[in-house]
Symmetry: C2
Subunit: 113 residues, 2 copies
């Protein structure tokens, strides 16, 4: 079966800036209890995802296009670009900034410990 | 922590044609037992993934760029393009063809029933 991803606008995600376009590939229940989010995320220039914690789960980001800054659990700011994988351990925190003048796209997957 | 995806070449995947470039975002053990593959897949023109069955698991494809043909469990051939989600149920079969003259990129996630 083929369908389009469901596009959902997300404003000020986790206290971040701007409006992100979330392309929901799977609905939470379709992950069969293994996780709760699988989306492609479009971040306009100068938008961000605020720092937030993942208790009992983790969320790798995978950069598809564009450049931005990953905020790691220890607060360090790491410049990232295409094909970079941004990892945290379960229970840790992260955030993300598109501090560039171009759109950034990434994959986000939230799955359980 | 930030790292590059691990690029692995895959020839004649599931009996398909050509050489695919798999960008492994997570190693199997990093999926914490919930699944076994999370990759971005680059398919050159006229390459394919042969029809294969997923017992006890499923594998949605999500098209990032390019155009191709999804082969569904019932053998039907469905033209797909960017933002299309190709779903099968656990235990079903699927395949994929990039029958175009352009590269196609997609996300592949294999997770358990």
């Amino acid at each position: 079966m083929v369908r389009k991803a469901q596009i959902v606008l997300s404003e000020n995600l986790q206290g971040g800036k701007g409006t992100l376009e979330m392309h929901r590939i799977l609905q939470p229940e379709e992950l069969n209890g293994h996780g709760r989010l699988y989306s492609m995320v479009k971040m306009p220039p100068h938008s961000s995802i605020g720092v937030h914690k993942h208790i009992g789960e983790t969320e790798p980001y995978y950069i598809l296009s564009g450049h931005g800054t990953f905020i790691d659990n220890d607060g360090s700011r790491i410049p990232v670009g295409p094909d970079d994988v941004c990892l945290i351990e379960c229970g840790q925190s992260h955030g993300f900034e598109n501090d560039s003048d171009e759109e950034l796209t990434m994959m986000a997957l939230i799955y359980n410990e």
